[in-house]
């Protein structure tokens, strides 16, 4: 695709005999919110771990911003503007909320081999961190240690950390996981604001959220793409209904 910010071609990743990513190709256009859905075990997290570099593919290529990043380690991809949040909240638990965010800002503000000055007293890092925190509604909780934040707040903090890196693309792994109804609604609203500014790849189980937010949806089953289209078309797609949405209906009604 012409204006693809992220372009994945023929990606394969096996774990022993299991093919978690099976000849997968995918384009994410600049500016869109691209949702990836699929039943449990479809290989969604495996896929985005390869996108952001926590995991390397066996074969295939990943291009980000016209650059081959297939073999780049995670920290280098982050420097290119690819930020991710984790499905299982992955923060610096013994650091305060603002320290978590400020470190992300620091990572994109030159090298950190500075041994003398007080990092917590650098106004531009603190300001950037505070802005990101306020963005996700955590301004009041800046000095709270992460382990004392609620689960919902930690999910929001994940997002603030990703934002602080001023990324070109946000890769969000189930940001709604474990959130209550009101917290989910807040998160959806937040993502609606963010999607105007940054390209987002969203993996999410909450179908209401996905259909409300996504510009396009890719459906993954057993590591392959079975459909990739706008939400309305995905809703009508017979194969998707059979493979995924139908299953869920069975699950909720049975």
């Amino acid at each position: 695709m012409a204006d693809a910010l992220l372009s994945v071609k023929n990606l394969c990743r096996r774990f022993g005999g299991i093919v978690a990513t099976d000849d997968l190709s995918l384009d994410v256009v600049r500016g869109e919110l691209h949702a990836i859905i699929g039943p449990n075990g479809a290989g969604k997290t495996t896929l985005i771990s390869q996108l952001t570099g926590q995991l390397l593919p066996n074969t295939g290529t990943i291009h980000f911003a016209d650059q081959d990043v297939t073999r780049l380690p995670a920290y280098r991809r982050s420097a290119l503007g690819l930020a991710r949040s984790f499905q299982i909240t992955s923060l610096l638990k013994d650091f305060s909320a603002i320290d978590n965010v400020a470190l992300a800002a620091q990572a994109h503000d030159g090298h950190s081999f500075r041994f003398w000055g007080k990092a917590r007293a650098e106004p531009h890092l603190r300001k950037a961190a505070m802005a990101a925190l306020e963005r996700v509604g955590l301004g009041q909780r800046a000095d709270t240690v992460v382990s004392e934040l609620s689960h919902g707040e930690q999910r929001e903090l994940e997002l603030a950390v990703a934002l602080a890196a001023k990324p070109q693309m946000l890769v969000l792994d189930e940001p709604m996981a474990g959130l209550g109804v009101t917290e989910s609604a807040r998160m959806v609203k937040l993502l609606q604001e963010l999607q105007r500014e940054v390209t987002i790849v969203l993996v999410e189980h909450d179908m209401d959220a996905v259909f409300a937010l996504a510009d396009r949806i890719t459906v993954l089953v057993y590591g392959r793409v079975i459909a990739c289209d706008v939400p309305a078309a995905i809703r009508q797609n017979a194969e998707v209904r059979r493979a995924y949405l139908g299953d869920q209906q069975v699950a909720t009604h049975g």
């Binding site: 926590q54 992955s90 992300a104 620091q106 994109h108 041994f115 007080k118 990092a119």
Partner: protein
Amino acid sequence: MTAQLNARSIVVALVVAGLALLPLYSSISGNVFVLTLFTRIVIFALAAVSLNLIMGYGGMMSFGHAAYLGIGGYAVGILAFEGIGSGFIQWPVALAASALFALVIGALSLRTRGVYFIMITLAFAQMAYYVASGLARYGGDDGLTIYKRSDFAGLVNLSSRVQFYYVCLGCLFAGIYLVWRIVNSRFGLVVQGVRSNEQRMQAIGFHANRYRLVCFVIAGTMCGLAGALLATNTDFVSPSIMYWTRSGDLMVMVILGGMGSLFGPVIGTIVFLVLEESLSQITEFWALIMGPLLLLIVLFGHGGIDGWLGRLRRG
């Protein structure tokens, strides 16, 4: 951390004042032994402070930290033996050799994590131990006597007991100050972030191992300085200075005092060495008392002595 008037800061202030005034007490009371003991304590405290930088702040459980004591000590000893008596050469060489050793073993060890890291650092230190034992020219197993202390061109006289004590104390305070600056710097926050969650730090854009390695080298260099001081203190250096039990002692001092606390290792070292000294005068089976005692402190005093002092404020 703000300086509040709590149990912890009172103890720290008392210890600092006590250490600073110790030579005065020693000369008034005529108790030379206490100065000898505390010179040793101050030197080991510097080593413990350096180990705390990687262990407490960096999360790197190095079980080979005594290797740097040996390298620093042997650098001074060998140069003195070969007739190079100037401290302006001996000490920089001691630091550089320790830094280089830390760079090499760090680059290799930091590919591993957890128990493997502990084992590989232990293995490297034991290698250094056996290499030193094989240095026939420099005494091998029997060690090397240093007949003349480093010459600093009249700047300080290391042969003076009091001056040497203050040199050691100055190095300790400088070391603590350095660690304090480091842990609050950008670099220090990154290192502590990696301890807390390495994957996260990689994901936000830090090449974690590069920071860990630099931290490892800083700590090794600091401990090399302690090694140079230690060898000077005893006018002697032998392979046993870096035997693995010594690395274990250093770890105990850090854990006892409180990992990741700025001043904890100093208190840990004082308690450890004073206990060792006084118990060994009561019975030759002093380790039988020392062991369970340490076990109790580690089991029940979460965060070591420093952690316990921190809790006193509220209790």
